[in-house]
């Protein structure tokens, strides 16, 4: 009887996980749109140098290190959860959450640095519009990170309640995937902004 039917793919993936992938796809499209707007934005074809006429704040680079570190911690947190090492998972979740908050703070410091350069969200010189784009791109990313922080918090609380273990991995794995997504996103965005000069 089994031979008669093609392989039934039903319930291959947990719906929430699959939906997350699709959400990440949609998010990527949003960033693609904003970034391509940034790429094509020069107001005057004659002035090629009107793109980014300033150095990116160093804090954005620090953020990248933070993101890499948090990716490592959440990777091990997931691994520990899979191995039922509940207390290690608990700690690693907490550290990741902390790193997430540090990331947001670092981005905030980056914005402060931009402001101190005289580059605010609203500018009255045509070449400074790239600063507005940098604000939009980073703020959208921070919004995504905040979503990740909410997930991490839930995950951490659940792990404190000993609810994250081998048999209850859905939340952990969603958080893990999503956190890698926002981390990767920031690395790509930073590299893009860095080389866009």
């Amino acid at each position: 009887m089994n031979k008669k039917f093609p392989k039934d793919p039903a319930f291959a993936v947990a719906p929430s996980k699959f939906n997350l992938w699709l959400f990440m796809l949609a998010s990527s499209m949003l960033f693609a749109a904003v970034v391509s707007a940034f790429i094509v934005h020069h107001p005057d074809a004659e002035k090629k140098d009107a793109w980014t006429a300033f150095d990116l704040p160093i804090y954005f680079l620090y953020s990248m290190f933070v993101v890499v570190a948090s990716s490592v911690t959440i990777y091990y947190a997931f691994k520990m959860a899979k191995k039922d090492e509940i207390s290690a998972n608990k700690w690693l979740n907490g550290i990741t959450l902390l790193l997430g908050i540090v990331f947001c703070y670092s981005q905030y410091m980056g914005w402060n640095q931009l402001v101190s350069l005289g580059l605010t969200f609203v500018n009255s010189r045509p070449e400074d519009i790239s600063a507005s784009y940098v604000y939009v791109i980073t703020a959208l990313h921070v919004a995504h990170v905040l979503g990740g922080i909410v997930l991490l918090t839930i995950c951490w609380i659940q792990s404190l309640r000993l609810n994250v273990h081998k048999k209850n991995l859905t939340l952990m794995s969603i958080t893990h995937t999503y956190w890698h997504f926002v981390g990767l996103l920031w690395i790509l965005l930073y590299l893009f902004l860095y080389f866009a000069k």
């Binding site: 031979k3 008669k4 039917f5 093609p6 392989k7 039934d8 793919p9 039903a10 319930f11 291959a12 993936v13 947990a14 719906p15 929430s16 699959f18 939906n19 699709l22 959400f23 796809l25 949609a26 998010s27 499209m29 949003l30 693609a32 749109a33 904003v34 707007a37 094509v40 934005h41 107001p43 009107a50 969200f121 609203v122 500018n123 009255s124 010189r125 045509p126 070449e127 400074d128 519009i129 507005s132 784009y133 939009v136 959208l140």
Partner: protein, 629 residues
């Protein structure tokens, strides 16, 4: 809760499932209830949109007449019984927005994706019922905000449904760009959230929750269409969100993403500098073009299903239909530039967009011919759904052909933003999609409400709507070819355009007739919901799975096990069977020697009639059509 657990629960509990009013009718997570909510909200929005079109048609046909009732209805916007020019712009804008997003995206795709994806695939519900519920309520909130925007003191958004900045960004340029525009943007942002929640759910359900035996190549074409539609939505709506975000920043924070070099009367030179209004158009149309197919494809899918069922004949070229849907979907992402030929874009880029655009005509032609071939030698039952589907094919052909003019960059110089464009998209995307929606409503009404609609009223509804739609939109081609621009408040001030006054009157009268014809539908629809004849199990003798569920529509869809699928959805009039349909869930009585493999045409070769393998089948077909053989 894992899906398996969900199923187990449904299997045991569905009979004595007692729900509160709120959880059953308001914040329902049942896909059938959500689809009803989408449909009825869609119909209400559609009535508002249609009413608006009648108002501005009135203005175009009798620009010098005074209608006292308008002042009563519209207050200061209808001073002296004449519509205010600013409000006229608002009407045009909100009509477009409502029809494109609220009726034909949410009302059509939202309704039928929700209803049919689980039912036709054999799933208990959507992948995430909660997201599905959120999707509806975001849509509802969005509708409420948009409707509110009509009542604001400075008028609704009035920069056209495409809301091009700087017009939409500058409050001083047009009053509608004040609070009305803000509300418009809020409504659209909510709509995007709704549509993403829905779309993600549809894709996830189609890919993961099909019943046993329901391989991808056994899915009904409706599902294929909804699937591609959802993919288009998930990929393109975020881009619109980006575009709207920039516009919101420009409007509320004073950034210059879209603004540069602007001097406003009474204000002076603005500070904004460095932006580009054309950037908005690029971002907008990157959504906007797929959006056209988001509207049309579900209607095409519904038509495929309805035509096949009522022609009692397998749909012609099932694979070709899927491939052309796929082709249209992919191409729709790389042709957005054809809306912008005359924005001063690089001429070479224009040529590229032109070539890509005209390529779309090929898959579209294939679809139209396939519909014709499905009708050929069928045994046509003219249910109202069938009539509307045939009407769709007619509109799809006549509206699609004019796309060849507009996709041609050179001819677009003359035709851009003229009435020719209005005629084109109202036929191919407006009327065709609405007809698809009507076909869907008439066809699946028994499934949605457990009642039958009255056929006779349906016939009247169809013929009046069909005739009036052609009367409204066909003459517009001629106006467009004569260079009459769209979105003009009145034509009396230009002698060249004033000669079309009689045509304008004809169009308005036809539009009023079309509006009246909807009374047939509304009466039929709402009356049948509670007083209609009780539906039978399978009223159209259809093959697909949704007709195996109980008529009253229970939570979890099937009382027992979900039926297994044994073949494709279009096996009508099989020569080896007594009846002219063969539901998907019935096992073959005589087991075929070799089981059909995935990726293979499911029709057993031995039952293909002689004609189809005949070498000169094309000429045979022509002969037969002409009655020569």
């Amino acid at each position: 809760m894992s899906t398996a657990a969900l199923h187990a629960e449904h299997d045991s509990h569905h009979h004595d499932h007692k729900e509160s009013f709120i959880s059953k009718y308001v914040f329902s997570m049942d896909h059938k209830m959500i689809s009803r909510q989408f449909l009825i909200t869609g119909i209400i929005m559609g009535l508002v949109g249609m009413g608006m079109s009648l108002l501005f048609r009135l203005q175009l046909a009798w620009p010098d007449e005074q209608f006292g009732i308008l002042e009563t209805l519209l207050g200061k916007w209808g001073k002296d019984g004449k519509i205010d020019p600013n409000f006229y712009m608002g009407l045009v804008t909100i009509h477009g927005t409502i029809m494109v997003f609220y009726v034909l995206t949410a009302g059509l795709s939202g309704t039928f994706s929700n209803l049919l994806i689980p039912l036709q695939l054999g799933a208990r519900d959507m992948a995430s019922p909660f997201m599905n519920m959120l999707s509806y309520w975001f849509f509802f909130l969005s509708s409420a905000v948009l409707l509110t925007s009509i009542f604001v003191e400075t008028g609704p958004a009035s920069a056209g449904w495409t809301v091009y900045p700087p017009l939409s960004a500058l409050e001083k340029a047009v009053p509608g760009s004040g609070l009305g525009m803000t509300l418009w943007l809020v409504a659209i942002a909510l709509f995007i959230v709704s549509s993403l929640l829905g779309g993600i759910n549809y894709i996830s359900t189609v890919l993961n929750m099909r019943t046993k035996g329901m391989s991808m190549n056994r899915m009904p074409l409706t599902i294929w269409a909804f699937f591609f539609t959802a993919i288009l939505g998930v990929l393109s709506f975020p881009v619109l969100l980006g575009a709207a975000l920039f516009l919101i920043f420009d409007r509320s924070f004073g950034t210059s993403f879209y603004l540069s070099d602007i001097y406003l009367e009474g204000v002076g030179a603005l500070e904004n500098i460095g932006g580009s209004p054309v950037l908005y158009q690029h971002l907008f149309w990157f959504l906007g073009h797929p959006e056209v197919y988001i509207i049309l494809m579900p209607a095409l899918g519904i038509t495929s299903e309805v035509i096949s069922t009522n022609a009692r004949k397998p749909i012609f070229g099932y694979t070709a239909m899927i491939i052309s849907l796929m082709g249209i979907s992919i191409l729709s992402f790389i042709v957005w530039g054809h809306h912008m030929f005359i924005t001063g874009m690089n001429p070479f880029l224009g040529s590229v967009f032109m070539i890509l655009t005209l390529i779309i005509a090929v898959p579209s032609a294939v679809k139209a011919f396939n519909y014709l071939a499905t009708l050929w030698r069928g045994n046509l039952r003219f249910t109202p759904a069938m009539l509307f589907s045939i009407g769709l094919v007619s509109f799809f052909i006549s509206g699609g052909l004019t796309g060849i003019y507009l996709g041609n960059a050179a001819m677009d110089i003359q035709l851009h933003d003229s009435y020719f464009v209005v005629a084109h998209f109202h036929l191919v995307m407006g009327s065709a999609a609405i007809f698809g929606m009507f076909a869907g409503i008439y066809h699946w009404f028994p499934k949605m409400f457990g009642k039958m609609m009255n056929n006779t009223l349906g016939y009247f509804h169809f013929w009046f709507t069909f005739i009036s739609a052609y009367l409204v939109f066909f003459p517009m081609h001629f106006m467009g070819l004569a260079g009459v621009p769209r979105r003009y408040y009145q034509f009396t001030l230009v002698k060249e355009f004033d000669v079309w006054m009689d045509v304008n009157k004809l169009i308005t009268i036809a539009a009023i007739m079309g509006g009246m014809a909807q009374v047939f539908f509304l009466w039929n629809f709402f009356y049948s919901i509670f007083k209609g004849k009780k539906a039978t199990q399978n009223p159209w003798e259809s093959n697909t799975l949704e007709w195996t569920t109980p008529v009253e529509g229970i939570h979890g869809n099937w009382p027992g096990e979900i039926p297994t699928v044994y073949r494709g959805p279009h096996e009508y009039s099989r020569p080896d069977r007594e009846s002219d349909f063969f539901p998907q869930h019935l096992p073959d009585e005589t087991a075929p020697v070799t089981a059909p493999q995935e990726g293979e045409q499911t029709a057993p070769t031995e039952v293909v009639p002689q004609e189809t393998v005949e070498s000169s089948v094309f000429f045979a077909a022509i002969k037969r059509v002409l009655g020569l053989s």
